[in-house]
């Protein structure tokens, strides 16, 4: 193995500023806290895990209360939940410094460590997601007769209800995981991140289901009306939480949300990922022609892209706020 040396300081100096200038405000601009190494694989995990949990909840609620018109929503939700939870552990293991030691996550259970809870929560939810997908496959006649009879005997509504706890957990705990760190942007917004991840997961899962059902030509006016009502609500909550997060951060800590590439993507998410889908939906409401259908598909795609990018922004803006000593001092002077 070739030896690689740490050389971190060269990237830290802000362009056009001398060491003496930076020394006046902090220790030469050197970060007070270390940022995590998490990159795209964690963003993708946040995205897929969120969809998996939320689509499981939607499938369960559609089964419990949706009536026969929403059978296709239940079916699509169960399959989507299972398909999106499969890559989740692989992405997490890929991100580890020592992937071959992934099973060390299951040595202990620590209630004050969101990552420990998350590892166990992922295991628990995977079992529910897999079982519900299996039941659905049985109902759809994809399995052998013997196993289909066994699966039909299982209480699928009760299983769905029990699995909805871990499903909500998987969609939301990632916000708590970020909040329980010394990263200024995350810990400052500790009450908002979990709800934000939940609302975004719900809007993403709804969009993914609408998209899947549209592609499979199984979307009725009934289905699209009800799912869109849910999506509109989730998007409005997400919008409120994103604006609240920016306001709550204060002028110093929110700098990565306003400036540079993360700031541009943050504004893009607000505009194209939240406001634009809301507008497109309003235009399409009540219409079920070819044009309205196209608007719905476009809105769903925008919501999904926005859902991925909002997690990118939260992660990488967090990195930048960890690198900013003034953001840390803003937090640690005050309390």
């Amino acid at each position: 193995m070739g030896m690689r040396y740490e050389r971190r300081w060269e990237t830290r100096r802000e362009a056009g500023r001398s060491a003496a200038e930076q020394a006046r405000e902090s220790y030469y601009g050197v970060p007070v806290v270390h940022k995590p190494h998490w990159k795209w694989s964690i963003v993708l995990y946040f995205f897929l895990g969120g969809i998996s949990g939320a689509s499981y909840v939607i499938a369960t609620l559609a089964r419990l209360a949706g009536g026969p018109q929403l059978h296709s929503v239940t079916r699509a939700g169960r399959y989507l939940s299972f398909l999106t939870v499969i890559p989740a552990p692989l992405l997490l293991i890929y991100d580890l410094g020592r992937p071959e030691r992934f099973h060390h996550m299951l040595r202990v259970l620590k209630l004050r460590s969101p990552m420990s809870l998350g590892a166990w929560g992922l295991v628990a939810f995977s079992l529910f997601s897999g079982l519900s997908a299996l039941i659905q496959a049985g109902q759809d006649g994809l399995l052998g007769r013997w196993s289909q009879q066994r699966l039909r005997a299982l209480p699928d509504r009760l299983i769905g209800l029990l699995g909805s706890g871990p499903a909500f957990f998987l969609s939301g705990y990632t916000g708590v995981l970020l909040a329980a760190t010394a990263v200024p942007l995350w810990t400052k917004n500790f009450l908002l991140l979990g709800p934000l991840f939940l609302a975004s997961s719900l809007s993403n899962a709804t969009s993914a289901l609408l998209l899947l059902l549209t592609l499979a030509r199984q979307v009725s006016a009934e289905i699209s009306d009800r799912l869109e009502g849910l999506e509109r609500l989730a998007l409005l909550v997400e919008l409120a939480l994103l604006l609240g997060l920016r306001a709550n951060s204060g002028p110093v800590i929110r700098r990565p949300l306003d400036e540079g590439s993360t700031g541009a993507v943050f504004r893009g998410v607000l505009g194209a990922g939240v406001l634009a889908p809301l507008l497109l939906q309003t235009l399409a409401r009540g219409h079920h022609g070819w044009g309205a259908q196209a608007l719905r598909v476009l809105a769903a795609v925008l919501v999904l892209v926005g859902g991925f990018l909002v997690r990118c922004v939260l992660l990488f803006a967090g990195h930048r706020s960890a690198d900013d000593p003034q953001a840390t001092f803003e937090l640690t002077r005050g309390r």
Partner: protein
């Protein structure tokens, strides 16, 4: 703010929640001459690979920061001018306007890295120090942002998290840590935290008597060991605000946020779940 809390008779000044028999460091920055013997002794004893050669331009500090292969870091602060750009007209006692501090893992009484670790690799030892077990760590990296002082880091070489062990192997053999052994001025002192804290209080009183009115302890319950951390087993005597040394004045144990954050998330789950039920309800 710091001097105010020291002079106001704050009862948390000079106290820590250190467990009985805890061992730690007192790093008295008024005695530091910036020789970096601690950095070298640490690297040698712990067989840490060198850092890349390079000039930072940060005074005599070419180490930069604590990291996976740097467990002692001597900071050099040239107080050429204050925030407003005013230059000092007279030199103060001890280190004049050139501050030096040997930074190290604080071995917190309640440690963020330890509580964050999902594998149980980070443990509290019989000496009340915090150590990362290298045969357990799987390099998840959660301890890295969970430290309010920016101490642990993932190694580029072996992918695992590393930080100061307070020379656990030497303590086992009744030896003092390598950095404290090497320090030529006794700026780094090793011993039971209880005794070190008494010594620090006497030293601060002495310094103030000699005209260094800014001297204070960093790492008690008043400054540095705040917000549920309950004190640092490796603490410091400083003569300028903590931020000057790149230290947070009032850090917080990040895990304090876990319960309230989960409660707000559960509340949101309840609200969104009911909203979803209402949206999907058979009409």
């Amino acid at each position: 703010m710091v001097s105010a809390s020291v002079s106001s008779g704050d009862p948390s000044v000079g106290t820590t929640g250190a467990r009985p028999g805890a061992l730690g460091f007192l790093t008295d920055t008024t005695l530091c001459i910036g020789c970096k013997a601690c950095e070298v002794a640490c690297k040698q004893w712990n067989q840490l690979p060198m850092d890349d050669f390079g000039f930072t331009g940060y005074s005599y500090d070419n180490t930069g920061d604590l990291g996976a292969t740097t467990w002692r870091h001597v900071a050099f602060i040239e107080r050429v001018s204050d925030r407003e750009g005013r230059r000092p007209t007279r030199l103060k006692a001890f280190q004049s306007n050139w501050l030096m501090m040997s930074d190290v893992c604080k071995h917190c009484v309640y440690a963020g890295c330890l509580e964050a670790c999902p594998t149980g690799a980070i443990v509290r030892t019989e000496f009340d120090t915090v150590v990362i077990q290298q045969d357990i760590c799987n390099g998840c990296g959660y301890c890295v942002p969970a430290c309010p002082f920016g101490v642990p880091a993932l190694s580029l070489t072996d992918g695992k998290a590393h930080k100061c062990t307070l020379c656990y192997d030497r303590l086992k053999d009744g030896l003092e840590p390598a950095c404290a052994k090497a320090c030529p001025t006794d700026s780094i002192q090793f011993g039971p935290v209880e005794q070190l804290m008494e010594r620090a209080k006497r030293r601060v009183a002495d310094l103030r008597q000699q005209g260094v009115t800014e001297a204070y302890i960093y790492g008690d319950r008043a400054v540095g060991g705040t917000g549920g951390i309950e004190g640092l087993n490796a603490f410091f005597i400083l003569t300028a605000p903590p931020e000057v040394y790149n230290l947070p004045a009032r850090p917080e144990l990040p895990q304090r946020k876990v319960l309230p954050a989960f409660l707000s998330t559960a509340l949101a789950a309840l609200g969104l779940g009911l909203a979803a039920l209402f949206s999907l309800w058979r009409r």
